[in-house]
């Protein structure tokens, strides 16, 4: 049996890939069904927390997508979530416009700014993007507080206009985030199978081959940042609506790093269960450790390192295990 594990023939690899496509679909379906009935089983506060989990999962997905398809790391995704959240918040609180108009606007703004930020570092090694996003994350709270006429400054904004009039607000906040998460996950799964997604992956893994096939690396870099920025803005939109308030406290530098930690904890997964794991980590850990605030960064740091080292040593351990079983 051990030979099967070490030498994968082409046929087997196609088979495993097929089986891995089929099962995640089923698990995701079961998971979604379970999540749809959740509000009827849980109390109001848990429903609220789960809604936030879904919203944060979208943000984790945005960061993971950038790592997976772009090979780049962003520690400034709070910029995009803030962009999305404040487009919801400002349109709602200042102009009374509901989500039907503000969510598309958030998406548009996210994509546009993602492209704008990727542009200056289009030709360069990925670390330049990382450093730019570091500056971005540190600039976000400053911008929010200084545009207080629009954003409400420290006090923030309250999102109260219902998405579907007549439905209970608590349910709406929950289901809106869930639906957004499912849509985004589905779209990302389709992206993997699309021509664009393949081209992006090729440009990341084999740049020279991608050039030969006519995929420009600059295009790949910029478009993946645009997509990721757009998803980040949708995360912000879901956070604003599900969390009911938008305030600078949700878009600090640490929040940006926590999104990245969530992405690492889910092993940069793009499937619904993995993304939910990351989102739950980002949402629940601060709540569980809220009594001992200083332990939160330590815990996040340890989780980040633990996952990275696990990802590094796991294949080696597995190989050693199979070698031991081979001997015996």
């Amino acid at each position: 049996m051990s030979n099967h594990a070490t030498h994968i023939t082409p046929d087997q690899s196609v088979f495993t890939r097929l089986s891995s496509v089929a099962t995640p679909g089923v698990t995701a379906g079961i998971l979604v069904a379970a999540l749809i009935v959740m509000p009827f089983l849980l109390g109001g506060s848990w429903t609220f927390t789960l809604g936030l989990c879904f919203a944060n999962s979208i943000g984790v997905l945005a960061v993971s997508l950038l790592v997976r398809y772009g090979g780049e790391v962003s520690i400034g995704h709070t910029f995009f979530t803030a962009l999305g959240a404040y487009s919801i918040g400002v349109l709602d609180a200042r102009f009374g416009i509901s989500l039907w108009a503000s969510v598309p606007l958030a998406l548009l703004l996210g994509v546009t700014f993602g492209i704008l930020f990727a542009w200056p570092s289009r030709n360069l090694h990925g670390i330049y993007l990382a450093v730019t996003t570091l500056a971005l994350a540190l600039a976000v709270p400053e911008m929010i507080n200084n545009f207080d006429i629009l954003t409400g400054g420290y006090e923030g904004l309250y999102v109260a206009t219902p998405f579907i009039p007549g439905m209970s607000m608590g349910m709406q906040r929950y289901y809106f985030a869930l639906v957004m998460l499912v849509i985004v996950c589905f779209a990302v799964a389709r992206l993997r199978l699309s021509r664009q997604g393949m081209a992006l992956l090729l440009a990341k893994t084999h740049p020279a081959a991608a050039d030969a096939f006519g995929t420009r690396r600059v295009w790949a870099r910029i478009s993946i940042m645009g997509i990721s920025g757009g998803i980040g803005a949708l995360c912000g939109a879901a956070l604003a609506f599900s969390g009911s308030t938008v305030s600078p406290g949700g878009f600090t530098f640490w929040q940006a790093i926590f999104l990245l930690v969530g992405s690492v904890v889910s092993f940069y997964g793009l499937s619904l269960p993995r993304v939910l794991l990351g989102g739950a980590f980002v949402t629940l850990v601060p709540q569980l450790l809220s009594a001992s605030g200083a332990w939160i960064p330590v815990f996040y740091g340890l989780a980040l390192l633990g996952m990275i080292l696990l990802g590094h040593y796991m294949p080696r351990i597995r190989k050693a295990m199979s070698r031991i079983s081979e001997v015996s």
Binding site: V67, G71, E72, V73, I75, F117, W119, P120, S121, N123, L124, H125, G126, I127, Y128, A130, V131, T132, L134, A135, L136, L138, A139, E142, M143, N145, N146, R217, V218, I257, L260, V261, V264, G293, A294, W295, I296, P297, V298, F299, Y300, G301, L302, A303, L304, L305, I308, L309, G311, H312, Y313
Partner: protein, 299 residues
Amino acid sequence: MSFWDSLIYDLFPLIWSGTITGCLYALGALGLVMIFKCSKVVNFSHGNVAGLTAFLVYGLSSGVLMSLSWGAAVLLAMLAAVAIAFLIYSIISPVVFESDLTSTIATLGFGLIAQGITLLVFGADIVALDLPIPRFAMSVLGLLVTGYDLTVLVVAIATIGALFIVIDYTKLGIAFRAISENPFAAEVCGLNLKSVHYFAWITAAILGVIGALLIVPTTFLSVTTVATFMLQAFAAAVIGGFASLPGALIGGILVGVMMNLFTFYVSPEYSSTFLLGAILVALNIFPNGILQKVGGTRV
């Protein structure tokens, strides 16, 4: 006449003090660039670790942990910085040779831990940490030069000078440059990549401690001050090209002067936004740093 007055009374002092703080940003940036040049890792934990060691100096000299003399406290903090750098690199070194992206993310984890430890041990309070230097001020050509300015200048020049001498003339420095140029060829020639990486990480940590200790008297010491100081260092490194040590020095001074002019003439509230703008503009105009000719980009 008033234009010249404002030039003499505002602009020159601003440029002077900007140069002084710029030297400190350069110290931070040099550490980042040294680490990046040889191990291709962007060390995001730099600021938080430097902040932790600055707090250690405070804790050891003020009686929070111990009441030692300032010099002994600095020495112990330096040792701690070296130990931390050694530990960080030892933990991530297997990952460094596999993926620079993953190891860059790992440094964020160390940054979080350093931040958390600082919070746990010293709390979120703001403390004052001064340098034991004589307080004097003199006027040179209309500029007010303080003892602090001179100390910073002397320490920065001495440190940076020593660094460049080590890199240019010692065997270790040659090994460092060889590995930065071509790690594979250097390894084939019998150089030990890891030991040179250790050298870079430890030197960077020491530079970070020196920078943090010198910057703290101008602000105050809190959990976030040194970390935000490092944003300036990152900006300096980017403007200098992230792979050039002289570039980092010039970038640091440029950032220091520009920040000073911006906060004085425009607004002190948008300093991070300004840095963001500066990074973006610099990446567009000099993609490989100010010392490189445009056109050599990797497309």
